[in-house]
Symmetry: C2
Subunit: 150 residues, 2 copies
């Protein structure tokens, strides 16, 4: 888990490096992303921003997310059905475990990814740039609810 304050500073640094401007909206957005423990959607970030900047538009959220993606400061997860989610804590590919009932997403421990990618690259001749490893299922809570209905 990255330190939110450090992540925020890192993102601001990268933004300025690239000649980007730090508007109040962006600062609020970077804070939200740096502090988010989960994997928020554009819509969720939008809702949070509106608390401070009620006139903010979703388009701005998308534009800034796209910029941060290009800077390598957020990771976009394309999940079936639920649209895109964004991870500002670990902006590099890593596995995810997704509950198909409640939508909860957690990061499991799993190291061997790099080695596997190398093996796949060797086998296929592809030059692998990034990978995606998702596990879908029921989280412990949703399993219980399934067994003991109301």
């Amino acid at each position: 888990m990255a330190d939110p304050q450090k992540r925020l500073e890192q993102m601001i640094r990268r933004l300025k490096e690239k000649g980007g401007r730090l508007t109040p909206q962006r600062l609020a957005m970077l804070r939200i992303i740096a502090e988010s423990k989960g994997h928020p959607s554009a819509e969720q970030i939008f809702e949070q921003i509106k608390a401070d900047f009620p006139t903010t538009s979703l388009a701005t959220i998308y534009k800034t997310l796209s910029l941060l993606k290009d800077l390598g400061e957020v990771l976009e997860l394309n999940l079936a059905g639920v649209g895109s989610r964004f991870d500002g804590n670990k902006p590099y590919p890593h596995p995810h475990v997704i509950c198909t009932k409640c939508g909860q997403i957690i990061d499991p421990e799993f190291e061997p990814m790099a080695g596997i990618s190398r093996e796949i690259a060797r086998q296929t001749g592809y030059k692998i740039t990034h990978e995606q490893l998702n596990f879908f299922g029921l989280c412990p809570k949703c399993q219980q609810e399934g067994q003991a209905p109301e």
Copy 2:
């Protein structure tokens, strides 16, 4: 690689088992899916169907794909950017290698998936139902083109 003829028969059997009807459009669609070596999109299936049934609508394609998904006879791949692709040859989760330039998708050899899922389930407490393992990068052909521009 499954035998297209056998896959077709299997799909028809499952369809009838569930009380579904085998319309000419569906038969054509099942053929295309059973014979497809690649991972066609709904749009691509649509284009092929139109050769035999020019009045077919995309909605029908989507409805039938959804049905086949429920029957477990096709696998839907949710790929970033390119929309959904469908695999009728191996309708169970397996890894994919995707070229981010030309869109080519291939199936690499990779066995340990089941074991990894079990380990993740143990570690997280989730009940894993299916997984997704995608590698993105440049296929050999696109790598060459990148090195020697026109």
